[in-house]
Amino acid sequence: MNLILVTFIILLAFTSYYFGRKKALVIQSSQRLTALPKFYGYYLAAWCAAPALIIFVLWSVFEPSIVKTFILQDYTDQNLTKNELQLIYTKVKALAVGTYTGNITNFLDESANKYIQLKGIANSAKVAIILAILIFSLSFAYRSVQKNNRMREPVEIFLKWVLFVASLGAVLVTIGIIFSLLFEAIRFFQAVKIFDFIFGTHWYPAKTFVRDGQPDPELMKDAFGAVPLFAGTFFIAFIAMCVAIPIGLLSGIYLSEYAGRGVRKYAKPIIEILAGIPTVVYGFFAALTVGPFVKEIGNAMGLEVSSESALAAGAVMGVMIIPFISSLSDDVITAVPQNLRDGSYAMGATKSETVKKVIFPAALPGIVGSILLAVSRAVGETMIVVMASGLAANLTMNPLESTSTITAQIVVILIGDQQFGDPKTQSAFALGISLFIVTLFLNVIALSVVKRYREKYE
């Protein structure tokens, strides 16, 4: 029903575009148009689709809760809690569509009939109102077209609002995500002290598990210390940057300053392919190839190496990040004005002196920005660490031992059995929001650094 209605509105909008345009061509024969003919079409189509669709959306949003209020009115005298009312309403709905399997009381049956009736009325009313609006707005718009009113401005305003609504949607979704993270995290911090979370050195949520009732507060105190996770996250990110910064930066400099056009043409896309490899592929590459390889080498040298090591995960993550750094630094180095290079060469500087003393310092803010973006990527990377760095949260600075990261722990917490309202589950939100704050912070710094760099040359 809804689908038919929406399809009808959209088809009608297309048709009215056609008619609007045609009408404009007719007007053209007698007087000068106020805009190109297609604007007449857009105008009519916008007036056709926008009001009807807005009403349709609003209706669809509010109808269920209005119907619910009507149904539950009959139950107000029973002094039921909110949850019980919700249960009754679910039962009524199920009964109405015929999927209810419990006991059917008279009262329930009555409500279900009322529900069906209300739904029927609501549907007919919706169709009627939307048709009325279509007729009204179309006739209004068509009269405006007939009068050859100004067409360009209304269409531009309409487009502006469409764009505004799109960006508003994006912003609202972001805010919604942040708030849902925040609320769950706050609930978590009601069960676990924020101090214990930030400064505790043991992460072992599994031990708080009890079959029924609340877990022991003493246990809670010692189970959710996030220090090992932060340490592991930054440690692995550090190893990754040790791999990615030198290789990425040097290859970026080579590509932008040294490579001939032929080399650049092929080398750059090949490096960028690295960025296109799915992280899960890197993950099993790290777990199945690099991890055992590191262990073997370590054992041969008489070192104790676990098969899931921070080194393996960090090294592979570094490889993943190389194209980020090389591509971004290539871009910022290329953006350094040619006349600075000329100035340096004309003083008799060699290529390497020019790179070291003029180009690199000039591009440094941009390079720092690209490195910070890469760090925030490394901190948020999940798949590689889940597969290759181990899941036990060891507090260690030994790259040959296994360690765990924030992202990996979130995965561990949220796969398998979990209960909502359990501190163990909620801890994922606390971890999530800490990770969000860290990456947000890095991104803000990175962007402001890059921006300052831009201002210098434009």
Binding site: G260, R261, P337, N339, L340, R341, D342, G343, S344, Y345, A346, M347, G348, A349, T350, E353, K357, V358, P361, A362, K456
Partner: protein, 251 residues
């Protein structure tokens, strides 16, 4: 006395020829101006004199350019040494995004000219004085060079160029991005500098060529049409095309 002697210089960008058989004698401690309409090859020729065309991948230079009997257009030439002797000032002021001091100290550092900090300070001071910039910047040598005004930036670039005591300075339309007052300052500077160095200047402004130069070369469509004393070129040119250009009939 001849400082630079170019013979039959041909320059190609890919398959397109930009200069045709240019032969010119540039005299020592004089200002030689190269004039001509846009795209006539005067900048291309200038860039042959310190091998800046090397930077352009598709550029090819043929012919002989000798400076004090040293062949410049040779694979064996040490380009770094050449550019120490032949400095260059560009159309758009291009100080490095470093401090004023570092900008001037750049050349002496890479060529290892100064042995001590005091010597370097001395070089920086002398160069800035010669570039008539010392009084304006002596109290803020550690400020970024790109923060100066356009004319000051260009004088900073001149200071940078003379910091390594070059024998020749090439100037590629050094005043085209400057206002008249800054232009006058630069022209005055050129007049001072020619006591010690040979200057080759490319300019769009014929009045500037007439004011600052002793010899003038007129380029048109990649050819050196006429070359001679500035007075003669401006007052009594041999060639009709030169006459037309000077009097503003084309270009």
């Amino acid at each position: 006395m001849s400082k630079i002697k170019a013979e039959n210089v041909n320059v190609y960008y890919g398959s397109k020829q930009a200069l045709f058989d240019v032969s010119i004698d540039i005299a020592e401690k004089e200002v030689t101006a190269l004039i001509g309409p846009s795209g006539c090859g005067k900048s291309t020729f200038l860039r042959c004199l310190n091998r800046m065309n090397d930077v352009i991948e598709i550029c090819r230079v043929e012919g002989s350019i000798k400076m004090d009997n040293l062949e410049l257009n040779s694979r064996k030439l040490d380009v770094v040494r050449l550019r120490e002797k032949v400095g260059m000032v560009f159309q758009k002021p291009n100080p490095f995004p470093k401090t004023i001091y570092e900008n001037v100290a750049y050349g002496p550092t890479i060529h290892g000219i100064a042995q001590s900090k005091e010597e370097m300070d001395q070089i920086v001071e002398t160069s800035l004085k010669k570039a008539a910039l010392w009084n304006e910047v002596k109290d803020r040598l550690d400020e970024i060079g790109t923060g100066l005004s356009g004319g000051q930036q260009q004088r900073l670039c001149i200071a940078r160029a003379i910091s390594v005591s070059p024998e020749v300075i090439l100037m590629d339309e050094p005043c085209s991005a400057l206002d008249p007052i800054a232009t006058a300052q630069i022209e005055e500077l050129i007049d001072d500098l020619k006591k010690e160095v040979t200057i080759v200047i490319v300019t769009h402004s014929m009045s500037q060529a007439a004011r600052v130069s002793q010899k003038t070369g007129f380029f048109h469509l990649g050819k050196l049409i006429e070359f001679g004393p500035t007075d003669k070129i401006f007052k009594n040119p041999d060639n009709q095309q030169t006459q037309d250009y000077i009097t503003g009939r084309f270009g």
